[in-house]
Symmetry: C2
Subunit: 195 residues, 2 copies
């Protein structure tokens, strides 16, 4: 059964990337509620490689600032939270718990290329689920990949070895209406092969 | 405003990866309806690199077969549709239309590494939106990355140069209940830095 129109609107039809947020704070409880949906989305062999840094304090925003591209700077510094969607390159060490019915750890521990590709693909999927989960709970998102990943990794992940993937500004939109009309999209027939 | 419980259940709380499908066909109209939600999900500079092959005919399933891993073989051959989520490495040629207010094409045309990373990240995001959009419209998904990408690319993309990313079996679940309990997930505090 399809979800109702209000839900389709919130997730897809009326959802827009948002850059200007109200002052309403995003609490730890909010972040945990979003994650409790995100974690349920499917990943390959349940590998769940995504890790999340929630940048809210002025100190942490200052740490992030030198890594931001000019076009993303002001809106990111002003957002209630900026989420660093990252991945743990050693995600496979948790597979004996996450995927107990096969020796999935061994698929990755001797194959760094496969591990890296799997971490990137699946942390990105989980980042996509994050956008959808945040919208499902009434938040707005501004995802970005315009930043210096090496700088973020040095500033935030020198100890734990995580790797940054992309950023998501998160909050509640300041305006009821988006600032500009939606950009065009590819037509179904232009991106489709029926085989 | 949050979406209602029925929608949260359909997308996240009660949604499960499904491998056994009813015989109900998935029509061209169904596929276009899913895509018309998928295309609205955000991508970097609206780059929209994902391409979709809908493998339904016995001939196309036979073409896919040699690329499938043993564990994914039978369930994929039996699924009403197998979607090849792919990316167009030359996605940036469409940016003058998709992102008309900047010369975004030039960001990628001289930078093949950035183009490849952007295509992979954003086609994966669009694949994640596909899973959510399909569930939103009442379909069930079985996503997989256990297959030989080079074989799929040779079999399906020798002409157009697209690159396969991952596969999604698609249909309506045969059973009302999932075959086994959900696997464990990481706890919020184990994958989180509050900064």
């Amino acid at each position: 059964m399809a979800i109702d129109d209000a839900a389709l609107n919130a997730l897809f039809l009326e959802a827009r990337t948002i850059w200007e947020y109200a002052d309403t704070p995003v609490t730890d409880t909010d972040l945990a509620a979003i994650y409790d949906l995100v974690k349920l989305g499917p990943t390959s062999a349940n590998c769940s490689p995504a890790r999340f840094v929630y940048v809210r304090s002025p100190e942490a925003k200052e740490k992030l600032k030198p890594a931001l591209s000019a076009g993303n700077l002001d809106k990111t510094m002003a957002a209630p939270v900026t989420v660093i969607v990252a991945q743990d390159p050693l995600f496979y060490q948790h597979l004996p718990t996450l995927f107990p019915h096969a020796d999935a750890k061994s698929w990755f521990s001797g194959n760094p290329d496969l591990a890296e590709e799997t971490a990137f693909r699946n942390s990105t999927l989980q980042g996509g689920y994050f956008i959808m989960a945040a919208r499902a709970l009434g938040f707005d998102c501004g995802p970005m990949s315009g930043f210096d990943k090496a700088k973020v990794d040095r500033a935030f992940f020198a100890q734990n070895g995580w790797k940054s993937n992309f950023l998501i500004n998160l909050g509640h939109s300041k305006q009821a209406q988006a600032a500009f009309p939606r950009l065009p999209r590819h037509k179904f027939e232009d991106v489709t092969i029926l085989a």
